[in-house]
């Protein structure tokens, strides 16, 4: 019996797909897996596990959060970056990813959905309080939310200003500026709709280069970033030294030892592996809390 032409063509395609599946989908990955058992490769192939005291404490490549059960930073440890991988403090490898919030995400949509701007401002303030430094940033209020006004005009987007609301400061908060173009600024009420106001972020007088570094106030693309910048590590040295009862110089030296420069001098950025650093701290300057 002769098969119709269209059917025999599809059967040939199916046979081709099955052959390719056997070669490229089974043989190839299994061969690579087998070769990756070789000494020197197997540690990486298994996910670069890190052990301490006989226990597996994580992976050298996967970041983790150093916060207590209450979600607050453990002062004896260097802190990782904020993370959007999973709820709470993130760093859940089953939910890798970034915040996906855009550069003009400036208006909070309720307490559970803060804007990216408010998240940045709140993190900056929290880090500043923890480290005892100046946490001011452009476009941030002193209470750590986005400094954004809804400006109402008489004729929509033109004409004299009739009303001004600080969008991210829910009542009874005191607005970050008393008046805008001569009109008193109000706090935001949950029941009201401010969609007709022109969203106007206010820069304020904070320095353009804030004391708290960029990586300390942003989440990474993976949410599993194992690194912080040398600047953020440096910011944390005083606090860690104080809590561990040692000197700033000794902790700073440890940070230097765990700072990796650019590969070949130009690939990537200098970075500090937080888990490695904290493990070394525990070994060298144990915490007696």
């Amino acid at each position: 019996m002769r098969l119709p032409h269209w059917l025999s063509a599809h059967l040939a395609a199916l046979r081709a797909l099955l052959v390719l599946t056997a070669l490229l989908g089974i043989a190839y990955p299994l061969a690579v897996t087998a070769v990756a058992r070789a000494p020197g490769l197997s540690h990486h192939a298994d996910g670069s596990p890190v052990t301490a005291g006989g226990r597996r404490v994580g992976s050298a490549l996967i970041g983790q959060s150093f916060t207590g059960a209450d979600g607050r930073p453990l002062a004896r440890y260097f802190q990782s970056r904020p993370s959007a991988a999973g709820p709470g403090n993130g760093y859940d490898p089953a939910a890798s990813g970034g915040s996906n919030l855009g550069p003009n995400s400036v208006v909070d949509r309720g307490p559970d959905r803060p804007s990216l701007l408010t998240q940045v401002c709140a993190r900056s303030r929290a880090v500043a309080v923890l480290e005892g430094v100046d946490g001011r940033r452009p476009y941030c209020t002193r209470d750590g939310v986005g400094a954004v006004l809804a400006v109402f005009h008489r004729d929509g987007v033109t004409g004299p200003v009739t009303r001004v609301v600080s969008l991210n400061q829910g009542c009874p908060a005191v607005p970050f500026v008393a008046a805008y173009r001569g009109v008193p600024v109000e706090c935001a009420r949950t029941a009201e709709d401010y969609a007709h106001g022109v969203v106007t972020p206010i820069r304020g007088d904070a320095p353009a280069t804030p004391v708290v570094p960029a990586d300390a106030v942003t989440s990474s693309g993976s949410g599993l970033d194992p690194h912080i910048s040398p600047a953020y590590a440096k910011l944390q040295v005083n606090r860690v030294a104080r809590v561990r009862g040692t000197t700033v110089d000794k902790v700073a030296e440890l940070v230097d030892r765990h700072t990796a420069g650019r590969v070949l001098g130009f690939l990537g950025e200098p970075a500090v592996n937080v888990l490695d650093l904290n493990l070394d701290l525990d070994r060298t300057y144990p915490y007696r809390g």
Binding site: V19, L20, G25, H44, A45, G47, H227
Partner: protein, 552 residues
Amino acid sequence: MSPTSAGVLFIASLMVALAAAYAPVGDYLYRVLTGARHSRVERGVYRVVGVNPDGEQTWSGYARAVLAFSAVSVLFLYVFLRLQNHLWLSLGRPPVRPDQAWNTAVSFTTNTDWQSYAAESTMGHLVQMAGLTVQNFASAAVGIAVAAALVRGFARSRTTLVGNFWVDLVRVCLRVLLPVAVIGALLFVAAGAVQNLSAGRDAHTLAGATQHVPGGPVASQEVIKEFGTNGGGFYNANSAHPFENPTAWTNWLQVFLLMVVAFSLPRAFGRMVGDNRQGLAIAVIMAILAIGSVVAVNAFQVAHRGTVPQAVGAAAEGVEVRFGVPQSATFAAATTLTSTGAVDSVHDSYTALGGAIPLANMMLGEVAPGGTGSGLYGILVLAVITVFVAGLMVGRTPEYLGKKIGAREVKLASLYFLTTPALVLVGTGAAMASTWARASMLNSGPHGLSEVLYAYTSAANNNGSAFAGLTADTSWYNTTLGAVMLVGRLLPILLVLGLAGSLAAQQPVPPSAGTLKTHQPLFVGMVVGVVLVLVALTYLPALALGPLAEGL
């Protein structure tokens, strides 16, 4: 060294490496696509498939083979995804839902690798390696095969035959993709990428919590994800994930891998038509567009305009510390200039104009250098349109590489160019008209429109990267984006093969004094101009409402 100068060196070193690879890789591809000998393994494969490797096909026979292979691939992958819970290494994960399985099956078969799922919580290991990885190879090979058929159309005369699809498919898989995949996978493992069949293990963190560290055959998928310009990540975070892209040098290697085939194919084209200068001209066109785009993304990201980047002091949201802003920006440009769609940082969080360039890159139709194969046939179609435009200017019948560009050729080329914009703009329009499609936007205002526009642009051009804020795992987006990916891949392929057939049948015309010299700077400049003008005319209204409204 400042991050900016390191970023400049990053770009410069990539350019040097790609230029160095151009001739050897292109010559190797030429030998693979034109050689007469079959290896013993290949003969075995042809025997199992039941085809005669020395018999060639007409353009319609070639097209039927491509369609049959694509149809079987989509169906096979769909069934695989639906039944994964019954197979080994499923890690106890349930079957993929029908609409998502349709979307994923089409996505990987069409070299798009759009992912509406979070891989680490959806896919078992077997479906990743024996389902998705296979299509990472096969879809890349299909692209190169179709490009080879078109080039044969230019190179041959008075014949109906454009090659044998099965031979092209098998040779590209086994002689080009597989050897690089094996070496590359081991390099990635050496850098820290995971390669095992484990479900992962729990770790007890220093802070006293439990963290589940995942496993999987990652490195073997990672390398072909880039080298075949696929882009579908083993994990949700894609190339930002430290297990996929552990170090700054793997980041460089990924950008190199995803560009090298597409940038070297013009050399193979030049060899096949018997004039290396023609190939070089095409490569230069690609390079001009690519360099412009890479520089633009870098400039916008480093300048970090916009409220949040100004508050932060850098465009650092969604960027890994080990890569930094400039080198992530280069990755973003490269992945959207090719049809890869892998991401090592979150495009949705880029500055408004920094995020607009990746979108515009895809709108170029992915020809600079484009996907493996699809980039070459895309730019050759645009070159055909350019000689037509030039012919109109001087009032003589246009010709390219000795072939007359007549009414039939121009119709096929124009339909090719119109397919993707039609899919993008109709798709985005339909989504914006639907309440539930609009509800999927994470950001509001112009940025929300950018998310939807980006999704349809990415799908129609078979890129697969995302402004990931969009909740794309809904039956609306799974179904419509699946359809857009399928039509956006197969309709252009049919038109290209039709063009190949019509060119191959022609008797070549000898060049005369009036022939436009297609290897000279004038022509290079004209193609660049035509590409930019066509894209601007097509997409400017949509871009004006999205990223331009936000960024200006």
